[in-house]
Symmetry: C2
Amino acid sequence: MTGQVRTVDGRVAGRRGQATRQKLLDCLGEMLSTSPYRDVKVIDVARKAGTSPATFYQYFPDVEGAVLELAEEMAKEGATLTDLVADRSWAGKSGTAAAEDLVEGFLSFWRKHDAILRVVDLGAAEGDKRFYKIRMKILNSVTNSLTEAVKEQQAKGRIDEDLNPGAIAGSLVAMLAAVAAHQKGFQSWGVKQADLRPSLTWLVHLGITGRKPPK
Amino acid sequence: MTGQVRTVDGRVAGRRGQATRQKLLDCLGEMLSTSPYRDVKVIDVARKAGTSPATFYQYFPDVEGAVLELAEEMAKEGATLTDLVADRSWAGKSGTAAAEDLVEGFLSFWRKHDAILRVVDLGAAEGDKRFYKIRMKILNSVTNSLTEAVKEQQAKGRIDEDLNPGAIAGSLVAMLAAVAAHQKGFQSWGVKQADLRPSLTWLVHLGITGRKPPK
DNA sequence: ACTTGTCCTGTCATGCCGTCAGCTTACCGA
DNA sequence: TCGGTAAGCTGACGGCATGACAGGACAAGT
């Protein structure tokens, strides 16, 4: 599937090469979380990695290309988000727990990767299909699971059949992603971190099941 | 309050100056909607405006500074979003209408200004207080109104008093903003534009009132 | 030691950034 | 009508990032 790691000019990368390549990626990730995306320069990343700009261009076409690589790595880890919603019951108290776990898992994942996710979000919003695909890869499993959950509730008559379950699930996931991205934003709004999770949990539960969670 | 428009080196801008300044802003806005933010260069904007890069620097410190200006303009227009929620009843059918209008107004505003809003979102997520303030300015009035609405429902016992009304309102607004920003994203998900609005309306109504909208 | 292929960097042409001095244009009072 | 003054614009320049190449350093096998 993946084949070997290759340099821009077609050579296969060996042990040493892969190490510096990874180091460049690590340094890029660090830069992204300390400087605005627009100001991240190849030369800075190379310096930080103790190498030269020319080396950077041996492994990546440009900064954007390297970010894509970083995002792919993250997307792989993001596959674990599926566990938060797969085979979960949304009935009664276990439903509340499902919502809680989903919110908690989502927020912490976003917090962990916020720097790259910002860029992915931007790229996707700008219409770049490559970023767009990665964003889908991360959100897809969660959204699909939630969509199924909504469909079940529709079958039970708790949610209007006219509503598109994918639209509901997608909107809820978008909400989680957006709140996670602007977590700090809420603070200076007078909303504390601790107040956020229960509210999100409540909204998610309500959106999926059409009912308020039991006390 | 504002005083006159000034150039970077302190001169007051006259008729002609303000015109070219505005032209630069217009061209910048156009560029932002056609190229990725990272690739927007001063020289391109200047060329497009039929002037020289030096002129650009006479009115703005850098690209970011000009974007901020553009964003301020938009924020002023965004004040009209208040009308979507101020003095609205959330009871019965009028509640459904309120939710519908809010969703519709929000989506169209975002669609109209998507290019600048992308950048504002990025800046805010990166922790830049200036972008952050602008984002708040736009969302504040809506959020505050919704917060009041939630409080009323809490007083009626329809929503758990333990939940923070600001967190609920903020999350719903974040959802609207996120969905608006990735409207195109939903399409290739199999969710049509037309399916989005009713679902969002339903979720907003549910979140604010704790109840499903009446048929 | 020699060969082979990987790995890195010095160097260079190109292009954008951001500044300054200086030129042109508009306005205004005498 | 005629300067005088301030606004408005730009050519030119040093500085820095980009991206490409050729060649040197290094490790591994023979």
